[in-house]
């Protein structure tokens, strides 16, 4: 069917370890099954703490409950250590163990892939999945450089976060359940990136959504957490609707749902035609949900209700970047639809800027990072939107490094803050930066690691974020001047103008990023400590099982830029590693829309662009350092309420309130009045259920009226019946 596809056995990878690629998702699935079984076996046996058993532990022990202040299982008169889960040891081995194995396999496959010519993707057909009429879907694994990059990020960063979780979650009563969900997430995420057809990708897409829901609401005994999970799930369903419509359109117009098949057929579509544009836009609707872009970004900040390692893995490093992956994966369609590409870039830029402004005034350390994630995802969409797929995926990778580091670092801070508050029975907010301050004295390792990530995300030269962010901005600038995108237009705005606006917003977001990240670091680690006199002695560095993964991530965040060194800086290392690696997947598509025959940006222009980016990062950090006074900050309970525009930012532009008034409340009201009171209570209960009962009763009543109790009447009826029968037989 597909000439680009060479037979399975003939592929150079077929004789290497890559033929075991099906094991990749199975390993975490195995972990899920084991941990899930242990969770169910252990669930019934977790009782309240036995007071005699943990007298020896005393006050000073750190507790792993993270963000859950009022967790049901440790009331405030429980001084000691809550009991570890009886299966904690096995789970600590199995949970991260399967990820270590998967990462090892991924590295082996990657090494094999480096050794062969990857011009053609390696497709492994596992079994026939949906043979229905014209639709003949096989469960296939598509292994190409793009999925390889994603697999490396998922298993690599995932492995580090799993190890971190061992420390962070060790005392949680739901420990095996946590690892079961986390393993299941990795399984679905690998299905998502390895799936060889859009429906299989969609299975992974929905599966990670499910795990995200389960893990956001992991501490579901608090209503706010359960609500956050529901919000994430429902908002994502809106996006998934778009994805489904896109798949229907693909099947109706292209006749196939295979990723390679669609890419091939898409190349035959007319450039800028309505089919390609519609498919691309509907796919992007799916991306706005999963990757938290305007207008569906609202779930991601709330998703911080989950355990912090979950925020790092799912809501920063992997799942939320699925949308970026999807656009890169469907690059064949997107490069046929300049209008859709401009939409992606514009939405990405708007999200990047909008979320960055909100990030400026958040007090919850995780909320700052959440809005930062939304903003950085916007960056990635700018990249893939303008057809700079490599730049977008590159930023995805570096972002996974530094944002996972930031989240895990904040997790360490929250962990010790919580432990300190727990030890003194204080119910203050362990995540509010106004209650932190001066943490560098107590957590020096975390302090330095977090600054590494901050410099990376702010775009300080030679840190990873600098390379990827600069590449995105340079791509936008180049395409604004000469590309099919510049010649297209969106809503009457010429593409070249729009792309310059996108570039401007990108620069502005970079400035804001530098400011809010520096603000977060200043308030958390610098200045005087505001935690409280009694708590201060309890502040100390988190254990090594948590700090260790941070060190690895910090190395990656610092040097990740070397994955794809720009040609401008050929002095520091081999140029464009990632670009060459991804060339077979997105290279042709990127070229189709982009620079065409025109030369790349001249070196002098590039120097100006790079200089601007550096200047902006430095200005942002300097501005924040000079302007913000951590010393003037007071603890949360003493802080005055924000006023004016600060208040608007602190309340996230009241978008949640607006959605609530415009969408949620009307839906609730209509559901209550029409669906519940009208349809359910009225028609189903009233007409069908009670109505049929009433009908039966009416017939019964009519029948009962025949029974008069008068024997004479019965005799008359009998006589009439006999005469009728006799008459009927006689005069028939």
């Amino acid at each position: 069917m597909n000439p680009a596809l060479i037979p399975e056995g003939a592929h150079p990878l077929a004789t290497t370890v890559a033929r075991l690629v099906w094991l990749l998702p199975l390993l975490p699935l195995l972990g899920f099954l084991i941990n899930g079984t242990l969770a169910m076996l252990g669930a019934a046996k977790i009782g309240p703490a036995d007071p005699s058993a943990d007298n020896g532990h005393g006050h000073g022990e750190a507790h792993g409950h993270g963000d859950a202040h009022a967790h049901a299982d440790h009331g405030h008169d429980d001084h000691g250590h809550p009991p570890r889960h009886k299966f904690a040891k096995i789970v600590s081995l199995v949970g991260p163990g399967v990820l270590v194995a998967a990462f090892g396999l991924a590295v082996a496959i990657f090494a094999a892939m480096r050794g062969v010519d990857m011009e053609h993707p390696y497709v492994l057909t596992l079994f026939s999945w949906m043979p229905v009429g014209d639709l003949n879907l096989n469960a296939t694994i598509l292994l190409d450089p793009l999925s390889m990059v994603m697999v490396m990020v998922i298993t690599g960063v995932g492995m580090l976060i799993h190890i971190f979780s061992v420390g962070y979650m060790q005392d949680d009563p739901g420990y095996p359940r946590y690892f079961a969900y986390l393993n299941l997430f990795v399984f679905f995420m690998l299905i998502l990136v390895l799936g060889g057809s859009y429906p299989l990708l969609f299975v992974g897409w929905e599966g990670v959504g499910l795990c995200s829901y389960l893990l956001i609401g992991f501490w579901f005994s608090e209503k706010a957490n359960a609500d956050a999970g529901k919000k994430a799930f429902i908002v994502n369903r809106i996006g998934d609707f778009g994805f489904l419509v896109a798949m229907f359109l693909m099947f109706a117009n292209l006749g196939t749902l295979d990723i390679l098949g669609v890419a091939e057929k898409a190349a035959e579509l007319p450039m800028g035609g309505v089919i390609a544009t519609a498919i691309a836009l509907f796919l992007f609707v799916g991306c706005t949900g999963k990757s938290a872009q305007i207008p569906l970004y609202v779930w991601l900040p709330d998703a911080m209700a989950g355990p912090t390692p979950v925020s790092a893995l799912i809501h920063a490093a992997t799942m939320v970047t699925a949308g970026v992956y999807l656009v890169a994966r469907a690059s064949g369609i997107f490069s046929m639809a300049p209008v859709a590409q401009l939409t992606v870039a514009a939405v990405g830029a708007a999200t990047a800027f909008f979320a960055a402004t909100i990030g400026l005034k958040q007090w919850d350390i995780k909320k700052v990072l959440a809005y930062s994630t939304v903003s950085q995802l916007g960056y990635m969409f700018i990249g893939v939107g303008v057809g700079a797929y490599v730049a977008g995926v590159f930023h995805l990778v570096t972002h996974a490094f530094f944002k996972a580091l930031l989240f895990l670092g904040s997790g360490s801070v929250i962990y010790v803050m919580h432990a300190a508050y727990h030890a003194t029975h204080n119910h203050d907010d362990a995540q509010d930066m106004r209650n932190m301050g001066g943490m560098k004295t107590y957590m020096p390792i975390t302090f330095y690691l977090m600054w590494t990530a901050t410099l990376a995300i702010a775009g300080i030269p030679l840190f990873s974020g600098f390379f990827s962010k600069d590449e995105i901005l340079a791509s936008v600038f180049a395409r604004a001047h000469h590309s099919t995108l510049a010649e297209a237009s969106l809503l009457g705005i010429p593409g070249s103008t729009l792309l310059m606006i996108v570039y401007g917003l990108g620069l502005a977001s970079a400035l804001l990023t530098a400011i809010y990240m520096t603000r977060m670091m200043l308030y958390t680690f610098h200045g005087p400590n505001r935690t409280g006199e009694a708590e201060r002695p309890h502040l100390k560095e988190a254990p090594w099982i948590m700090t260790g993964p941070l060190v690895v991530l910090a190395i990656l965040a610092a040097f990740g830029g070397w994955l794809n060194v720009p040609a401008l800086l050929d002095a520091i290392g081999p140029v464009g590693g990632l670009e060459h690696f991804l060339e077979p997947v997105v290279g042709a598509n990127a070229l189709r829309t982009t620079l065409g025959e025109a030369p790349h940006l001249s070196h002098s222009t590039e120097y100006v662009l790079v200089g601007t980016a550096i200047l902006i990062a430095v200005v942002g950090i300097t501005f924040a350092v000079l302007r913000l006074k951590p010393a003037a900050l007071v603890a949360k309970k003493d802080s005055p309420a924000a006023t004016g525009f600060d208040r608007v930012l602190e309340n996230k532009y009241f978008v949640d309130e607006g959605y609530d008034a415009a969408i949620v409340q009307p839906t609730v009201n209509v559901s209550r009045a029409v669906l519940w009171k009208g349809f359910d209570a009225g028609i189903i209960d009233g007409l069908f259920v009670n109505g049929s009962a009433l009908l039966a009763r009416a017939f019964g009543w009519m029948g009962s009226q025949l029974q008069t109790g008068q024997v004479g009447t019965y005799a008359w009826v009998l006589l009439i019946g006999v005469i009728t029968l006799l008459g009927a037989f006689t005069f028939r």
Partner: protein
């Protein structure tokens, strides 16, 4: 003879039916039922002339059963009377819907 006998049988049966339908007293209705039974007996006997002795045999059976039925029926009526102090069937209507 056959025609006359059957005509008498029909007449007796009709009288019995009318009695059952119009009377209120349980005893009277009971006697009318007996009258209907005997009308049928009469037709059995008359028709045995045409169809053989089976009719005669049936009559013996019917009379036996009728005797038993009379005993049970009267016993029930007496029981009702003891309970209700009446045998007027219009007053005995406990089984109405």
């Amino acid at each position: 003879m056959l025609v006359e006998a059957l005509a008498l049988s029909a007449l007796l049966f009709t009288i019995g039916v009318i009695g059952v339908l119009t009377r209120r007293n349980a005893i009277m209705i009971f006697m009318c039922v007996e009258l209907m039974l005997n009308a049928v007996n009469l037709s059995f006997v008359a028709l045995s002339k045409l169809y053989g002795a089976a009719g005669q045999v049936f009559v013996v059976f019917t009379m036996t059963v009728a005797a038993a039925e009379a005993a049970v029926g009267l016993a029930i009526i007496i029981a009702i009377f003891r309970h209700q102090r009446t045998v007027n069937l219009q007053n005995i209507n406990l089984l109405k819907g």
